[in-house]
């Protein structure tokens, strides 16, 4: 993939449509919507941590193993992972560019996938297999 050379004139000229309007708007809206959903996640997290911090496995299985709690928590964790990747992208775009940007963005995606899948996999393991 060859980098397009972006000149000062291209950026200044509104007719070049520098940037991806659809992707950027989607990024913005996704971040706001997932952010609002994360308020619910924080409520859930508070409930789970207050109820289960320092408790034994049996207690954790009793609370998280409830399918309503476990499955809603899994969905909320997935939304958090999307918000994490989106938000870190804003930071990376500010400080990296070109190939270095693509590398750190790949690491960002991997981290969010791993954290999301480990957390969701663990919750679903507790829900379905105890």
């Amino acid at each position: 993939m060859r980098e397009t050379i972006i000149t000062r004139d291209m950026v200044a000229n509104p007719k070049t449509h520098y940037g991806d309007a659809k992707a950027s708007t989607r990024h913005f809206v996704t971040q706001r919507v997932t952010g609002l959903v994360n308020v619910v996640f924080l409520g859930f997290l508070l409930f789970i941590v207050v109820r289960l911090a320092g408790q034994d496995r049996a207690d954790m299985v009793a609370v998280i193993g409830n399918p309503i709690v476990g499955i809603i928590f899994s969905v909320l964790i997935a939304v958090v992972a999307v918000h994490m990747r989106n938000g870190m992208r804003d930071t990376l775009e500010d400080y990296f560019s070109g190939r270095m940007y693509r590398l750190v963005m790949l690491l960002n995606t991997l981290f969010c996938l791993i954290v999301g899948f480990v957390a969701i996999g663990s919750v679903l393991k507790i829900v379905f297999w105890g």
Binding site: M60, M88, T91, S97, V118, A119, S122
Partner: protein, 128 residues
Amino acid sequence: MSVRARPTSPHLQIYRWTITMAMSILHRATGIANYAGMALLAAWLFAAAWGQEPLNAVNGIYGSWFGQVVLFGFSWSLVHHMCGGLRHWVWDFAAMMEPGQREAMAWATIIASVVITLLIWTVFVWVA
């Protein structure tokens, strides 16, 4: 997709600190802290799914004084990022943007995040 190098500003050394600037920086900093902190949640859930012994190990680390300090910071970071995010929702409706209003909201963000965090820890940890 090409991402070009963006101009960076020497804002930390040059400009006088304002509360809105401090809250903007804190919003990004707490976002990054929450990003890393989610790994702590994943580790706890993973240990619980794995077995009692790994869970004991994680509980031992999280329950130590150092673990508690980190978790306290993480909880404040989450609450602060939530307050900052809600502030952005207000701004998205083009409200509270005038001089004075935005400073008031920035102060409200930091005060609310500290008060809410202390309330959570007081009610659920220190007193309970």
